[in-house]
């Protein structure tokens, strides 16, 4: 176990190093004077400011030195400052990460909670009516692009029925859980559609295999009730695969919330990234990209380790 852990950690450090290098090069490779890329267009006549920023950022140093400084700063939680909005990138991330995290978490939970019964009952009555209906449903929900689903939800639940708000965000700390869920449920549902379908399919396939095992037959022979067998005997071994997938999806969703946040105008990281893109705020784009990729890599590693921890067969090796 210790050996595996050390190997994984070494790999994590190597990956993160490469990720940071790539993110740095993304901006470094920009053609032309880097100062012109950092500043808003109207500041470009101001030669004095440009010179000040050049010395402030020590842009005349060799690229390798600047990369070293950038990474050291990043490790200490300093991702630089936006020259467009005058905001520190790390502050922007800290302000906005709760919304993104909650959306990703809520979407993962929705996808998991709905997928388990759908997958389990589809497998239990393989080829039956429920299975066939769900197969159509999962194909559809896998294929509808999240942003199309989001806009359709807004049209249906806000404009037609007027049940839920289409924009804005209530913080849990300000308005309580219920008001918060009211603003979070539509975006989270739109996000959950694709992972829901993937989960349901995987759980179904996994359980069809499990249900053919001998110990299920012997449980049946003992006269145990079907529901009990399904939940206790069949779902348990399948839950390992499921947990791994849920974790990986959570990591992917942190990147996936970008568009959904924009559509619902939520104060999350994705909205900040997009507004940074529209303003061509290079420091902000670079910082958020590095942050999201880091979270993604770390979450994936944690899921890997969790899998090791849960499965005694792998742990013993």
């Amino acid at each position: 176990m210790g050996k595996i852990l050390a190997a994984r950690l070494a790999r994590l450090v190597a990956t993160l190093f490469a990720v940071s290098l790539l993110t740095f090069l993304l901006v470094e490779q920009l053609p032309g004077d880097p100062v012109t890329a950092l500043l808003p267009p109207e500041a470009l006549h101001d030669l004095e400011t440009m010179e000040r920023i050049r010395t402030e950022l020590r842009l005349d140093d060799p690229a390798l030195v600047r990369y070293g400084r950038w990474v050291t700063d990043a490790l200490q939680g300093d991702l630089g400052k936006s020259y467009i909005t005058d905001q520190r990138v790390a502050d922007a991330i800290r302000d906005r990460i709760p919304v993104t995290m909650e959306l990703a978490l809520l979407a993962t939970v929705i996808a998991a909670v709905l997928a388990i019964p759908i997958g389990a009952f589809s497998a239990y009555r393989e080829g039956g009516r429920f299975d066939r209906v769900m197969s159509v449903f999962t194909t559809a929900s896998l294929s509808i692009p999240a942003f199309v689903a989001a806009i359709f939800f807004i049209w249906l639940f806000t404009l037609k029925f007027n049940w839920l708000p289409s924009t804005g965000w209530n913080r849990i700390t300000d308005k309580g859980l219920l008001a918060n869920l009211k603003t979070a449920i539509l975006p989270a549902s739109a996000l959950a559609l694709a992972p829901l379908a993937i989960n349901a399919r995987l759980i179904r396939a996994d359980m069809i295999g499990t249900l053919k095992e001998d110990y299920i037959l012997s449980a049946r022979a003992k006269g145990l009730r079907s529901r009990y067998i399904l939940m206790r005997h069949a779902l348990r071994p399948s839950s390992l695969t499921a947990i791994t997938i849920f974790g990986l999806q959570f990591g992917a969703l942190i990147g996936g919330t970008v568009v959904i946040e924009t559509i619902f105008a939520l104060p999350g990281l994705g909205t900040r990234l997009i507004s940074g893109i529209y303003q061509r705020d290079v420091t902000m784009i670079q910082g958020i990209t590095l942050f999201v990729a880091t979270v993604y890599v770390v979450v994936n590693l944690l899921v890997d380790l969790l899998y090791l921890l849960l499965d005694p067969r792998i742990r013993r090796q």
Binding site: V148, W155, G255, G256, L273, A293, Y296
Partner: protein
């Protein structure tokens, strides 16, 4: 899926027919529909290109003609004989814009798939068969690219480098799509390389490069194709998303994504200008997914019989 049943039920039906037509015949009904839709979309894309080539001489409305400026139509009309799917908020013909928009989605998807199969497939097969230091290096590089959430890296690239033209966008998508194909090609190569026919070829002293091209690559291609179909759907969604954000091919050139974005401004009045491109996007992705699933099952059956 329920369709899987009649495929697995009659494995001998496949061996009877030869050629591609018999494969179409034994498709389940829904997969046939999917294929039909994809053929329709591809023809639409080609037709609209020809239409532009001939200076809009073919029978189809002009996708840029604004009826309320020059007469002939008003904004957000419902479906009529002149405009089969109605008009958008600038009173342009929806149907024509949808068909013209198919080109961007397809061009990007086809670029990604061919880059993936040609470069990714070759690279993956090569390192999977050669093993050793090259394998470690190449897979390490691929892992770094895959360490980014796909949309975020694309957004950063497109935003920082101000990429807005179709060829460059297709190129960026194509290059970023390669790593997954390398992974799949390598994983399959590892499996194929341990099979008897490869060992036999090695035993009689066939050159390794010959084995790579004659024994290994033909055997990993089916699983690459199966992935390519599903991947094409994914790419079309990502391109649609970028288009929706206004970061892909620019208006007035129609793409399904930017049509949805333009339609959003009038969502209170009507959903139709959003509904059509949304439907086209979804149907195309559904079709690719269904065809991909079906193909994957066939590949799985065939390789288990190998």
């Amino acid at each position: 899926m329920s369709e899987s049943k009649d495929i697995t039920g009659s494995p001998d039906a496949k061996s009877k027919g030869n050629g591609r037509l018999s494969a179409v015949k034994e498709m389940p009904f829904f997969v046939k529909c999917a294929l039909f839709w994809l053929v329709f979309i591809v023809s639409a894309a080609i037709y609209t290109r020809l239409d532009r080539l001939f200076g809009q001489a073919l029978p189809l409305q002009d996708p840029f003609y604004q009826g309320f400026l020059f007469g002939g139509a008003s904004p957000v009309e419902g479906p009529s004989l002149d405009h089969l799917l109605g008009t958008d908020i600038l009173s342009r013909d929806n149907l024509s814009r949808l068909l013209h928009g198919a080109w961007v989605s397809l061009a990007v998807a086809i670029t990604v798939v061919s880059f993936g199969i040609v470069f990714g497939g070759l690279l993956g097969a090569f390192v999977g068969y050669a093993r050793g230091r090259w394998e470690t290096l190449v897979m390490g590089i691929m892992d770094v690219v895959l360490a980014f959430p796909p949309l975020v890296l694309l957004l950063a690239l497109v935003a920082i480098y101000k990429v807005r033209s179709l060829p460059v966008i297709a190129l960026v998508f194509g290059v970023l799509g390669i790593p997954t194909y390398v992974r799949i090609a390598r994983a399959n190569t590892l499996g194929v390389a341990s099979r008897e026919f490869v060992q036999a070829a090695e035993a009689i002293g066939t050159k390794r490069i010959w084995i790579l091209f004659r024994e290994i690559i033909p055997n990993i291609l089916p699983s690459l194709f199966a992935y390519a179909l599903i991947n094409a759907g994914f790419v079309i969604v990502i391109e649609g998303t970028l288009s929706y954000l206004g970061l892909s091919v620019q208006i007035p050139e129609p793409t399904w994504g930017n049509m949805i974005n333009e339609g959003r401004r009038d969502i209170r009045r009507t959903i139709l200008p959003i509904f059509w491109p949304g439907l086209f996007l979804t149907l195309t992705v559904v079709s690719l997914n269904m065809l991909g699933d079906w193909f994957q099952q066939r590949v799985a059956i065939r390789s288990s019989a190998l």
